[in-house]
């Protein structure tokens, strides 16, 4: 824990912003630069900075969930997203899509199993990195 006023003030402002930004990066990742890996990293950095400024206990309180649960949940989500392929007789992880079209017939929104998988990636990255950071910080 670093007792620096600048870091504390900045981090307090940054945390919410960075988490929101990371989710935004995750969501738009399919079409613009971004994705689960980048998003997860940004989120993890946000929490790690927060922990550096306010201590690990504070970070744990904010996280609510244990990093291990995030990690496990993410991995489970990633694996489960692959099983949607089964009923059609396709290989594991073949993507399935639901396409919403607008009035002109053009694709407006595509929801598919890769999006679920990407959320799984996000959660695994956040969970694993925070588990490491937390374990190392608690050595104090």
């Amino acid at each position: 824990m670093m007792d620096s006023l600048i870091l504390r003030t900045a981090t307090r402002l940054l945390l919410a912003l960075m988490i929101l930004f990371s989710i935004f990066i995750l969501w738009r990742g399919h079409n613009e630069p971004g994705g689960g890996f980048v998003g997860g990293l940004i989120c993890a950095v946000a929490f790690a900075l927060h922990a550096l400024a306010f201590g690990v206990k504070e970070m744990k309180r904010l996280l609510v969930l244990d990093p291990r649960s995030l990690l496990g949940g993410g991995l489970l989500l990633g694996i489960l997203s692959g099983f949607f392929a089964g009923p059609g007789g396709d290989p594991f992880m073949t993507a399935r899509w639901i396409i919403f079209k607008d009035a002109t017939g053009a694709k407006a929104l595509a929801l598919g199993t890769p999006v679920l998988f990407d959320i799984g990636v996000y959660l695994v990255v956040v969970g694993a990195l925070l588990a490491m950071v937390q374990a190392l910080m608690e050595e104090d």
Binding site: G35, F37, V38, V125, A128, L129, M132, A135, E139
Partner: protein, 119 residues
């Protein structure tokens, strides 16, 4: 351009190898960091360098346009970076625990598994 980077990568590899050969575990750790950076640069390099243009399919287009960066190496590097960090953290924790248990960061003194008299 690629040529310059090829030499930069070679330099990073040489530095990493020299650090790997140290008895000080922390320096080996720094070697790990340098080596993963070097390899990541090398992967992008062999997919050729295209200044500026990210491999995004533009609005209104259906396929990736010409003259954009090669997407495949980028996908490989992206995961390599994250895994490299996972590896780094693990090694760091290992070094740290090793120091706590054995009281040294010198690999030539860590001989619990392979005691000197056994060889």
């Amino acid at each position: 351009m690629e040529t310059i980077m090829a030499f930069a990568v070679g330099g990073m590899v040489a530095g990493a190898v020299y650090l790997f050969l140290s008895r000080q575990l922390l320096r080996v750790l720094f070697g790990v960091i340098l080596l993963s950076n070097a390899v990541n640069v090398a992967i992008l390099l062999v997919g050729r360098l295209t200044p500026g243009q990210a491999p995004l399919i533009g609005q209104g287009q259906e396929v990736l346009g010409q003259g954009l960066a090669n997407p495949l190496p980028q996908a490989l590097i992206l995961t390599a970076i994250v895994i490299g960090f996972g590896l780094l953290s693990f090694v760091l924790a290992l070094v740290y625990r090793g120091y706590q248990e054995l009281g040294t960061l010198d690999s030539s003194q860590m001989r619990t598994a392979e005691p000197e008299d056994a060889v």
